[in-house]
Symmetry: C2
Subunit: 302 residues, 2 copies
């Protein structure tokens, strides 16, 4: 299988890099890091074993990339409008596009742009960040769940899962809606709260007041998911997520890094959309509505 | 009538100063500003006309103060435990203690300390701050509502209202519970949100997301008040408060100043207590619970 990676930041660099490391054919689109990677290759500093790729099938433009069987999209969701131009050169009739992004409603919107393209969600459970040009820092975790949104041929999903496993990445196929909402249970409290209170995951959980707040916000996501018809997330999932986070290295989620580095925050798909979906289903995420407003304010005044 | 002022900051300085200015006998307790006021007097820079008092009946200790007919308490509510020692020297059998403080549950707690003392709430609608030692800056508004909590002799309340009016302060007697909760409608959103988002009232209302959030929080206070049995605050009161604030000078509420100057914030009476009271009555102030947690976090980590 031929892989394409659009958006080779932390996520695209790590997952694409793992596949390339075991010899899979992976074609990477770079933006600012192109020259660096062409000269020096791609470095992945990883808690599971660091590695270096050189040479890398690196491109400045998807116009120069071959058609691929699978495209991994690691763009920030705020840039998804770019897919309109970026994606077509990589598409064959049955290309699977895996959107490794956070949020609710992403596949619905990309499907509107490309009604015939087969889509899946990639839910990356990983602490990683781009530390400098051409360099990914993978701190902990790393598993990826794949949720089929509109792929007609299940064997393609199986093949992606199998390739990831061969590359040492714990991958599993999961139910799409359940997976997207489960990810939101962690994402919605921690991404926004670390921005709103200028802190990290560990301090939020050390303080009893914000620990309870995080729990309350997680329960709002679980209840929103249930209102939207996702039945397999029960209330104990919040405690499980908190417990996992307590065992993590102190962590700045991607939105915190975006805010710190004056990049746009993914408020639309991480907050506005799930809040809207829940509201349509008759449930109000009161505390997360407040967090959304705080994030909008912080983004607007800077 | 003989007045005592405990806590001569912005509030005690302004209201006590207005009474002294027209020749009422007012005895002021000072803490850090004592020497300054003894030497230079008390300056009130006011939008309604500035004035200077010199000499001032200034004291370092309530032990040296005379018994008073009316005591105006302008302490921060975080220091109310000090009343145990500060108040007794000023008390006669029928002294009225007016607690010019923000929050819910204050009179209940002070009454527990002094079961026989007659209490009233003073609700100050004023933008003012102590700008430097012995100097109060009164930006706008200035009216005060007095709510009788346990005063047996209504004519004393009448006399206080009358003295304030004579001093050019718009004063009115109001129903205690309604008045405390009405004040909370403004206080709970603006005090905390200006801290949480490091901003001022005007910017909160210029941004459509935080404007809506402030409105939502005001509606939570109104619904909490209704749950607690206060019937005379209707939903239009939120719009009225927002409209008033839109016409105010950009303002940093007292909690914002406390936070900026590393003083303790009045979280207990402004947030924890009303949230508890509402919860006991079966109503949850979801967004204000979140704001309380954020404020606790900000106070704990600094």
């Amino acid at each position: 299988m031929k892989y394409g990676v659009i958006g080779t930041g932390a996520i695209g660099g790590f997952y694409g890099g793992k596949l390339a490391q075991i010899g899979k054919e992976v074609h990477f689109l770079f933006h600012r890091d192109y020259d660096h990677v062409k000269q020096h290759g791609l470095q992945v500093d990883s808690c599971d074993g660091s590695f270096h790729l050189d040479p890398v099938n690196a491109y400045r433009s998807t116009q120069d990339m071959p058609q691929c069987d699978v495209v991994l999209v690691g763009l920030k969701s705020v840039n998804n409008h770019l897919l309109q131009d970026l994606l077509p050169p990589l598409l064959k009739e049955d290309t699977l596009v895996v959107l490794i992004q956070n949020g609710i409603g992403i596949e619905e919107d990309v499907q509107k742009m490309f009604p015939k393209v087969e889509l899946a969600a990639g839910l990356a459970f990983i602490c990683c960040a781009k530390s400098e040009p051409g360099r990914v820092n993978h701190q902990c975790y790393g598993y990826i769940n794949i949720g089929n949104y509109s792929c007609k041929n299940p064997s393609v999903i199986d093949a992606v899962v199998s390739d990831f496993r061969e590359a040492g990445v714990d991958a599993n196929e999961v139910e799409y809606f359940e997976a997207r909402w489960k990810k939101a249970v962690w994402n919605m409290p921690f991404n926004g709260m670390t921005v709103a209170l200028n802190t990290q995951t560990d301090l939020l959980l050390q303080n009893p007041h914000t620990m309870q707040l995080v729990k309350d916000q997680m329960m709002e996501v679980i209840q929103a998911a249930q209102a939207c018809g996702v039945k397999n997330i029960d209330d104990t999932f919040a405690d499980k997520m908190i417990d996992n986070t307590l065992h993590m290295t102190p962590y700045s989620p991607s939105m915190k890094l975006d805010y710190e580095f004056h990049r746009p925050m993914e408020i639309d798909y991480l907050y506005t959309r799930p809040i809207q979906e829940a509201r349509k289903a008759g449930y109000r995420m009161a505390k997360l509505e407040m967090l959304e407003a705080e994030l909008r304010f912080l983004e607007d005044i800077r």
